[in-house]
């Protein structure tokens, strides 16, 4: 793709800036989720679905996807400009994360023409919500051991088994499903297949699970003789592991093609600095306390590390020894940072750290306690921190598998 005309790009960026300034409503009167994994109530869901649809209709989501699939066919720099404007004006998150960031790029790269026609536009407009059926009650980190069974029957697969921790499972129209088509394969990975699965069909049910924050969020998803159309198969039968690993690369940002926007509100170390100024210790700003000061500098250093590493990915000459090192370690770096800085923020609130979201006395409506508890969604979901250490150790540094 040719480089964009700087004038066109500047014009588009200015329009996006004006649009988000005029249209962002970050305080609808109830607490908005910080991440797509946190969506827990119908009004949160409805609000975010409507917001995503408006952003797409205005041309600021999927701008770099082809026109025929609901995009605008523009250079990726345009979408980056729109996302920057969204961030600048603190726009709420994009809801349909699994569609926008994982399924969408996957379909664009290896989907059939029919898949693209059928799904992509409705992913952008949030008409179809997508979820991911990878984890099972008995197999989480050991994903390659998934046992949900799919048996070919004419033009369909008959699916039996159960998936768990299904984000947005309750709302979803489609699932990307990792299931076992050949239980007799010698290598466990070779018996897996990857199927685009409708959720609103007979034999598929979901049960909500209550999260550590108290709300309902993800679900357990049950399959009982569900007839799933076989044209949803991605890749060939038995190639499911390869497709799933590719999906995880989109998910972890190691592969591009995402629709744009963001699906979690970035934690802002500067907002925590502001909190350290507002909170009191012995009648003085907490920030005057030498211990707190020292920890605050640590966090500013760390958020700057993350930002600089993100920028450095674009400099190939500074990534020669381990070209995949920065992309593959970014989940690890970021999610653990977010968890720890929110934990620190709670300690800054002193005695008020005892309050939880909802109490009128809670500092910032209990934002920090809730943010800390929610931060585990990312240190566990998408492959735990421990598994990320294994991935970086084995795939980047070449250490032997355990």
């Amino acid at each position: 793709m040719t480089a964009p005309d700087p004038k066109d790009l500047a014009e588009y960026a200015a329009d996006a800036d004006a649009w988000f300034l005029a249209n962002v409503n970050s305080d609808p009167g109830f607490m908005l989720p910080l991440t797509f994994m946190e969506v827990g109530t119908d009004r949160q869901f409805d609000f975010l679905r409507e917001w995503q649809a408006r952003v797409h209709a205005a041309g600021y989501l999927g701008a770099a996807w082809p026109k025929e699939y609901g995009g605008r066919g523009l250079h990726p720099d345009f979408q980056a400009a729109a996302t920057a404007a969204m961030r600048k004006h603190n726009g709420p998150i994009m809801l349909n994360a699994i569609g926008l960031n994982w399924t969408g790029p996957l379909l664009l790269d290896i989907g059939t023409e029919d898949h693209k026609q059928r799904y992509l536009k409705r992913i952008l407009s949030a008409e179809d919500i997508w979820c991911q059926g990878f984890s099972e009650p008995e197999h989480g980190s050991d994903l390659g051991n998934a046992q949900t069974r799919a048996v070919r029957d004419g033009e369909a697969y008959i699916v039996n088994g159960s998936k768990i921790w299904t984000t947005l499972g309750h709302y979803a129209d489609y699932m990307i499903l990792l299931c076992r088509t050949d239980p007799a394969s010698t290598r466990k990975y070779d018996g897996l297949s990857f199927i685009l699965t409708p959720m609103k069909i007979p034999g598929v049910t979901t049960t909500p699970i209550r999260k550590l924050t108290g709300e309902h969020g993800f679900t357990q998803t049950f399959f009982a003789d569900a007839r799933v159309p076989a044209d949803g198969l991605m890749g060939k039968e038995g190639e499911g592991w390869k497709v799933a690993m590719r999906t995880l690369e989109y998910e972890r940002g190691a592969r591009g093609g995402q629709a744009g926007g963001y699906v979690q509100t970035p934690t802002n170390a500067w907002a925590v600095l502001d909190l350290a100024r507002r909170m009191q210790r012995g009648g003085k700003p907490a920030l005057d306390d030498p211990d707190i000061r020292s920890q605050m500098v640590d966090f500013i250093l760390e958020i700057q590390s993350l930002e600089l590493c993100r920028q450095r990915i674009a400099v190939p000459a500074l990534n020669t020894d381990h070209p995949a090192g920065l992309p593959l370690s970014s989940k690890l770096m970021t999610t653990e940072f977010v968890r720890r800085i929110n934990e620190f923020a709670i300690t800054l609130t002193g005695g008020q750290g005892a309050y939880y979201a909802g109490d009128p006395n809670a500092v910032d409506y209990g934002f920090w306690t809730r943010a800390y508890l929610n931060a585990f969604s990312a240190t566990i979901g998408g492959g735990t921190t421990q598994i990320q250490h294994n991935i970086v150790g084995e795939h980047v540094l070449g250490l032997p598998k355990g």
Partner: protein, 373 residues
């Protein structure tokens, strides 16, 4: 919100990184490093000559004085690769001496000395004193004007490469104000130098007794710019230290990885075990972060305000990264790690040296708190 730095990488940096990577690996294998540790001079004059011929000493010196007219940030990839190969020699001290003259020298001093430094005449700085204070304005050595010349008094410590240097720039008090003076090594008696026993055995450092040394009146650097020059040198020295440290961190991790992949215990390479694997990953992530800070500091070095923040951040991060990587390098080599023969100690000692020079993480964090909050 303040600008606290950003990534940037110039074409010159790219070219220098590529050539320095190959050159340093070639001339400074670890066997050579160890041989030079017991050598009196401590570095290889032939390699030093080659470095001069490559033009690397001229990088950040203005064209008018025989230099290439590039930035100090362009020196960073060279020093990084030297640090990675523990390449010994007066490269950094000479580069910093040039910085002193560029920032605070008189026209005559620059015209006389900078072309020499650009061409490979070694030089050094003598800034520290007995209290080893990281505040470079805490000076007790003095210079007093006599009949047409200046007489020096006091003692400077941890003067790197003082024996090899042709020029030494020392900080002194002049009429009670911090000042810098350019000393021709010819006017320094051998007895004025004592080689110090330092933790990093790949380097050479000396204490320098100034008592009785006289220099011409023209040896004083511009007094009006002395304080600004000291502040500049503090940051310049820390920037180049970060470069050496990041290179060293990479090497410490690479050594540890090699061992973790080949040393077998309980029938498997030790790198299989998560108690070994995960801390190595933690060290690696820390290293990548420190390196990102290094190149941000190199890119922003000349920006008023941002440059100082970026350099202090880079030093704080480099200290943490290098210390951790080298500390774990010793541990993960087991009994061998406790030996003099294992290279892990070279990196650990060097990390301690660098923390002790120009300020450690805690020191720079304090300064950052003042700058940021």
């Amino acid at each position: 919100m303040q600008d606290i730095g950003r990534m940037g990488f110039s074409e010159a940096q790219g070219d220098l990184l590529e050539s320095a990577t190959a050159f340093c690996a070639d001339v400074s294998p670890v066997a050579r490093v160890r041989a030079l540790m017991t050598d009196d001079l401590g570095h290889d004059p032939a390699v030093w000559r080659q470095i001069g011929e490559l033009g690397w000493l001229a990088i950040a010196i203005p064209e008018a004085f025989g230099g290439l007219g590039l930035e100090l940030g362009d020196v960073v990839p060279v020093v990084e690769q030297m640090g990675r190969r523990l390449l010994a020699g007066p490269y950094v001290s000479t580069t910093l001496a040039a910085q002193a003259l560029i920032a605070g020298g008189t026209d005559a001093q620059r015209a006389e000395v900078l072309p020499q430094l650009a061409a490979g005449t070694p030089a050094t700085l003598a800034l520290m004193e007995g209290a080893a204070d990281w505040d470079l304005e805490a000076i007790t050595a003095t210079v007093t004007a006599g009949a047409g010349n200046l007489t020096l008094a006091g003692t400077k410590i941890l003067v790197e490469n003082a024996d090899a240097a042709r020029w030494i720039i020392a900080s002194v008090l002049h009429e009670r104000q911090p000042a810098l003076v350019l000393i021709d090594r010819v006017s320094v008696a051998e007895t004025a130098l004592r080689r110090e026993t330092i933790i990093d055995e790949t380097r050479r450092a000396f204490s320098l007794t100034l008592d009785g040394i006289t220099v011409p009146a023209s040896a004083l650097l511009d007094p009006a710019r002395a304080a600004a020059t000291l502040a500049h040198l503090h940051l310049a020295a820390n920037l180049l230290a970060c470069a050496e440290m990041c290179g060293g961190t990479q090497a410490a991790i690479d050594d540890t990885l090699d061992y973790a992949k080949t040393r077998i215990q309980f029938g498997k390479p030790i790198g299989t075990y998560q108690g070994v694997k995960h801390p190595i990953v933690a060290a690696y992530v820390r290293y990548e972060q420190a390196r990102s800070h290094l190149y941000s500091a190199a890119h922003c070095f000349n920006e008023q305000g941002t440059g100082e923040i970026a350099v202090r951040m880079a030093k704080a991060e480099a200290d943490a990264a290098f210390s951790f990587a080298a500390d774990r390098a010793i541990q993960f080599h087991g009994g061998f790690g406790f030996t003099y023969d294992c290279d892990a100690q070279l990196y650990r000692r060097r990390a301690i040296w660098h923390a002790a020079q120009g300020g450690d993480r805690a020191f720079h964090k304090k300064k950052l708190a003042e700058l940021l909050f």
